[in-house]
């Protein structure tokens, strides 16, 4: 349980940082595509008998690279490319697992997460990935900001836009792999999109969105985990439900407040 709580905090950080850029770049489905395509790597790992995490990482990075190329070559049809990779990754993973010997009960844990099974070495890996993500985004913040805001202009001032887009998608891939452990690949996009989206409604500075987004993501993970522990429900699904409920309540409250304020001004 202690490991699980620490894992919740660690993925919260990567969620907030990468998720904020995903949301402002309107790339939520891109992240979803990478997450699902990673299943192909999990299948491959089962078949060949290496760590499913390594498999997922390799596939996530491979898919990120493919998507980066797709964005740069065929901008208009990006959604199609995402759809193809999304479904193909899942299909490939399923077939590879079918072909691999033995019975695979723990396949479900990659789909829906199993934060309670997080080991100490997993935590070190997550810490490392967090550090990597923070270092890259921190070091090149102004470049990522410029490219996210206006990629074409960024090109005119000589930024290596394509390279940065690729690096950004790799970071998404790494964050996705971390989150597969906790919420599972199917539920990844909820944790990527909800915390930054709530943060975006509270502030209009990207730095604060990243900060608040991380805090929200940590809070959702920890609260969801505690609830799932007491109700004996799946941790990943519970975390996502906590996030979704907060989101709904938040939107409704904001709407009601806006209406009240608007009526007062009118009256």
């Amino acid at each position: 349980m202690r490991n699980a709580l620490i894992a919740g905090v660690l993925i919260g950080i990567s969620c907030g940082v990468v998720g904020s850029f995903v949301v402002v770049n309107r790339a939520v489905f891109l992240a979803g595509g990478i997450a699902h395509a990673a299943y192909g790597g999990i299948g491959l790992a089962f078949l060949c008998g290496f760590s499913p995490f390594l498999g997922a990482t390799l596939f996530a990075l491979f898919t990120s690279t493919l998507l980066a190329v797709a964005i740069q070559r065929w901008d208009q049809r990006l959604d199609t490319v995402i759809g193809v990779l999304w479904a193909t990754g899942m299909a490939l993973g399923t077939i590879l697992i079918d072909l691999s010997p033995g019975y695979h009960k723990d396949v479900m844990s990659y789909l829906f997460g199993s934060i309670l099974a997080v080991s100490r070495s997993d935590l070190y890996l997550m810490l490392l990935l967090d550090a990597l993500i923070l270092a890259v985004i921190g070091f090149f913040y102004k470049e990522f900001l410029a490219i996210s805001f206006d990629a074409e202009f960024a090109m005119t001032v000589g930024l290596p836009v394509k390279l940065f887009q690729c690096i950004f998608l790799w970071l998404v891939g790494l964050a996705v792999v971390m989150m597969i452990r906790v919420v599972g690949l199917i539920l990844v996009i909820a944790l990527f999109s909800i915390p930054p989206n709530i943060a975006e409604r509270l502030t209009s500075s990207l730095k604060r969105i990243i900060l608040f987004g991380s805090l929200f993501a940590i809070a959702f993970s920890v609260i969801g985990l505690l609830i799932s522990y007491h109700l004996n429900t799946s941790s990943g699904a519970t975390i996502v439900m906590v996030a979704a409920t907060t989101y709904l309540v938040f939107l409704s409250l904001q709407d009601i407040l806006n209406r009240c304020f608007y009526n007062n001004v009118e009256g």
């Binding site: 402002v24 770049n25 309107r26 070091f139 090149f140 102004k142 470049e143 900001l145 410029a146 996210s148 805001f149 206006d150 990629a151 074409e152 202009f153 960024a154 090109m155 005119t156 001032v157 000589g158 930024l159 290596p160 975006e200 502030t203 209009s204 500075s205 990207l206 969105i209």
Partner: protein, 268 residues
């Protein structure tokens, strides 16, 4: 025809037999022209005629399939520090959470190395550029809270922050009101005293008193160095099938009609 190009007396922008196509769709064919330092060039022509493509070629965003482009005698990619660009789309990423000053600082990226922080000098240049376009008081506002005209001025400031020698603007007056337009044109006239300006525009009448050179772009390019926009050029650009008039032998057609005076009166 081979003339050695030295940096000093090279033309600000020079196209030599430039061909460009997207896949099999030819956008520009055999475009050759040059403009001198501190020229004010208006590019007019129908939508899809290749005006924006031409700007992007100048910026090195696109590369011609045939022909050469030189900016003060050098390849566009090497001249990024002296090129300022104001793109057509005033909302590249709507509702993006960023402040005005941070947007203008992006104009300094050509002067700052990767991974380095903006310096005091960069901030000062950005503030000065904002002051220039009358938006200094908005420096901390979120960009999404601004009107279309205000955004356009911020994007102009972003281009000016780099202290460019050539300013390229793509339809900067789209969606902004008349007072902001004339303010913009006055500002461009001031800037023109020390920088070359290339402007893609539909507002041919409003702009005509500021420009020095006009080019009609519709696959081919015709340069009119008088800088006067005549009714025929407008007709050619917007009403008549452009192929009949602006292509081939434009000057003969211009000679046949004579509505120049009408147009000048209307201008006043």
């Amino acid at each position: 025809m081979s003339r050695s190009i030295t940096n000093k007396n090279a033309p600000a922008i020079e196209f030599k037999h430039v061909w460009f196509s997207y896949d099999s769709h030819v956008v520009l064919q055999d475009v050759s022209f040059s403009i001198t330092d501190k020229d004010f060039l208006a590019l007019i022509g129908p939508n899809g005629g290749g005006k924006t493509t031409l700007l992007k070629l100048c910026l090195g965003l696109l590369h011609p399939q045939k022909g050469t482009i030189r900016i003060y005698g050098k390849e566009p990619e090497k001249m990024r520090k002296i090129l300022g660009y104001v793109p057509q789309n005033p909302n590249p990423n709507p509702n993006f959470p960023v402040s005005v000053i941070d947007v203008v600082l992006m104009g300094r990226l050509s002067h700052v190395r990767l991974g380095r922080k903006y310096t005091k000098e960069d901030y000062n240049a950005a503030i000065e550029a904002l002051d220039r376009v009358g938006m200094k008081d908005f420096r901390d506002s979120p960009i999404e809270k601004l009107s279309g005209g205000q955004k356009q001025r911020v994007f102009l400031a972003r281009a000016l922050a780099a202290d460019p020698k050539i300013l390229l603007l793509d339809e900067p007056t789209t969606g902004i009101d008349a007072p902001s337009q004339s303010m913009l044109f006055e500002l461009l006239r001031e800037l023109n005293s020390h920088m070359t300006i290339v402007l893609v525009t539909h507002d041919t009448i409003a702009i005509s008193r500021y420009i020095k050179t006009v080019a009609c772009v519709n696959q081919r390019l015709f340069l009119h160095e008088e800088g006067k926009i005549t009714k025929e050029m407008l007709d050619a650009t917007y009403q008549c099938p452009v192929d009949l008039i602006a292509h081939g032998i434009p000057h003969r057609v211009f000679d046949e009609h004579n509505h120049v005076h009408e147009d000048e009166e209307r201008d006043k």
